[in-house]
Symmetry: C2
Subunit: 103 residues, 2 copies
DNA sequence: TCAACACATGAATAGTTGCTCATATGTTTA
DNA sequence: TAAACATATGAGCAACTATTCATGTGTTGA
């Protein structure tokens, strides 16, 4: 059933990049952080309150998300505000939620 | 900056489900399997050839994807054909690829 | 300037994951 | 029925991950 003529949608490099991004979204804490940041800015302390988690854990995840360019930060005095880096992630969330509804 | 009036897009349960699905997509081997299955059926052996991986590894991943209802199987004699369970995953892939292009 | 505050970071660790190896199950053909 | 074939599965293991703990950095106000 090997069919060399079949067009493959993603190259190996694209597969790698897709997997990296999905992995970033593949953790409940990070999903909750992202969903809390949809449509607004929040500082680290707000996130720890919403998430009911240690400040360190939250900061570690925020660094991860920042390295992946999923969130960005803005400093204002002592506090640091985080927000989504672009709105594509929100689109992906919406589409995926739609998928989950149908199951 | 806590704002109780802000509508949260996803509940904790939805966050859990989203994370579970994204985690399933968050591995290069599984991404490649899914992308190979877009638009066609393939048997386990074909996948091992394309992926250049051991048959056992591929079967394990297929079981995982099947448990997640991302792929389904169809038996025909000795061989088992796998295909995508629905086309939502393809949509999610396309949207995410678009996101990656813009970075 | 010093204490309090907000956040970041490195090390350590328990839990998870993806692969390999060996073997089992089910099917076809000689 | 036995051998060959296609796939599935359990155990084991090395690599990775998410959190906690302790501490560091930068900022503000007394």
């Amino acid at each position: 059933m090997l069919d060399e003529r079949h067009p493959e949608m993603v190259s190996d490099e694209q597969a790698q990049n897709l997997a990296e991004l999905f992995k970033a979204l593949g953790d409940p804490t990070r999903v909750r952080i992202i969903s809390l940041l949809i449509g607004r800015e929040l500082c680290v302390n707000d996130l720890t309150v919403y998430l009911q988690m240690g400040q360190s854990a939250v900061s570690h995840q925020l660094r991860y998300l920042r390295n992946m360019r999923i969130v960005k930060r803005r400093k204002e005095g002592k506090t640091v505000f985080y927000s989504l880096d672009d709105d594509h992630i929100e689109q992906i969330f919406r589409q995926t939620l739609k998928h989950l509804e149908h199951h």
